[in-house]
Amino acid sequence: MIRFSGVSHRFGEREVLTPFSLELAERRIAVIGANGSGKSTFARLINGLLMPSAGQVWVDDLDTKSNGKAVRGLVGFVFQNPDNQIVYPVVEEDIAFGLKNLKVEKGEIAGRVAASLARFGLSHLAKEQAHRLSGGEKQMLAIAGVTITQPRYIVFDEPTTLLDLRNKRLVARTIDRLDETAIVITHDLDLIADFDRVLVFEEGRIDFDGAPRDAIARYLELMA
């Protein structure tokens, strides 16, 4: 479970998130809202990329402030632009990166990378240069690189924004099949139709919290 208690966040003078408390226990959670409504900051608070200016964020009873490394292990993060997430020049090397950071043995790394390549339909691209992949393949590679370390939660920051319709659907299916808990920041309303819970952010506060249909209605109302 992810728990926010009295959390707020400011960049310098500007308050990006006004104080809020929240518990997230569902398997599929979406966060929608206008640009600049605080969604991305919210996402980055979950895995300790950002620390709250006040209050605490707990992931399975670990405080992101004092247990940064353990929290990173529990929460994976998939960014909007896979180009900014792929670290190594070759596909299989990139997938191995997270395991190398965990000091996993070489033999085990090879096996787990092969399994991950197969799971995300990338086996035929194992030795390919990452920059030669298509947008959809790159996003699959990014997801493979994050899931390989077996996090319990995965935060997706607008995972479909840069993709065409076919690849949007590919990513949606992939998220749907994940065993991990997914927290998806998005503008893509099709993606979240079957989610368990949707938060609507507006000007740094949670404006709505509930089922997808009502949340989407509220979101469209706000956007009007």
């Binding site: 993060f77 900014n84 997430q85 020049p89 950071n101």
Partner: protein, 208 residues
């Protein structure tokens, strides 16, 4: 990206890249102490003999020298004019031998083997507090970024061409750098999110 490396199985190919780099440094130093023209001719022939030994042809040797050809000619002529023919031929031979030897190292070692050798060479520095893991990450990242920056550069160039600014280096470099730096923030976040290194310190952050 294609390196000059020529894959092969010769004895020279099988030598560890690190050994070849050390060999090059030693040969380079040695050549500076050889002054006699006849001995330098022997050195040059010895280096040339390494090419067939590495499964390479004399044409490869010529290709290695070609970019230097003009400079070599100018150098020899300048020396001949200033210091006489003996010094001139000596320094020409020395330079050719050195460059040919270096060419062998590059032609017979893959870029990844060379980088592995660099990492290994730096690893003793680990005890002096140099973080070899970080150097290794930087090397991989640079390889990853080169095609990416070239792509961004092409985009910027196209955008500036639309405004008729595509020959201005400033108009190309500034947007390229600013975009690159912005990407850099997110890339660093992604690397941290994937568990590299230790936790980042709390502090003000530019990203939103």
């Amino acid at each position: 990206m294609i390196a000059a490396y020529r894959p092969g199985t010769s004895i020279v190919h099988r030598l560890p890249a690190g050994a070849k780099i050390v060999g090059l440094a030693m040969a380079g130093t040695f050549l500076f102490f050889v002054a006699n023209v006849a001995s330098l001719v022997v050195c040059l022939l010895a280096v040339l003999a390494l090419y067939p030994l590495a499964g390479l042809s004399l044409r490869d040797a010529l290709a290695t020298l070609r970019p230097l050809f003009v400079i070599l000619v100018i150098l020899v002529l300048a020396h001949a004019w200033l210091n006489g023919w003996e010094v001139a031929s000596g320094s020409g031979l020395r330079l050719a031998a050195l460059v040919l030897f270096a060419g062998i190292v590059t032609l017979t070692s893959s870029a990844s083997a060379m980088m592995g050798a660099i990492e290994t060479g730096l690893s003793p520095l680990g005890r002096l507090g140099v973080d070899v893991e970080k150097i290794s990450l930087a090397l991989s990242l640079a390889l990853r970024f080169i095609p990416m920056i070239a792509a961004v550069g092409a985009e910027v160039r196209e955008a500036q061409r639309a405004r008729g600014l595509d020959t201005s280096l400033v108009a190309l470099a500034v947007p390229l750098i600013v975009r690159t730096l912005k990407m850099g923030e997110e890339i660093a976040d992604a690397i941290d999110a994937r568990g590299f290194g230790t936790t980042r310190k709390d502090g003000p952050d530019r990203s939103t």
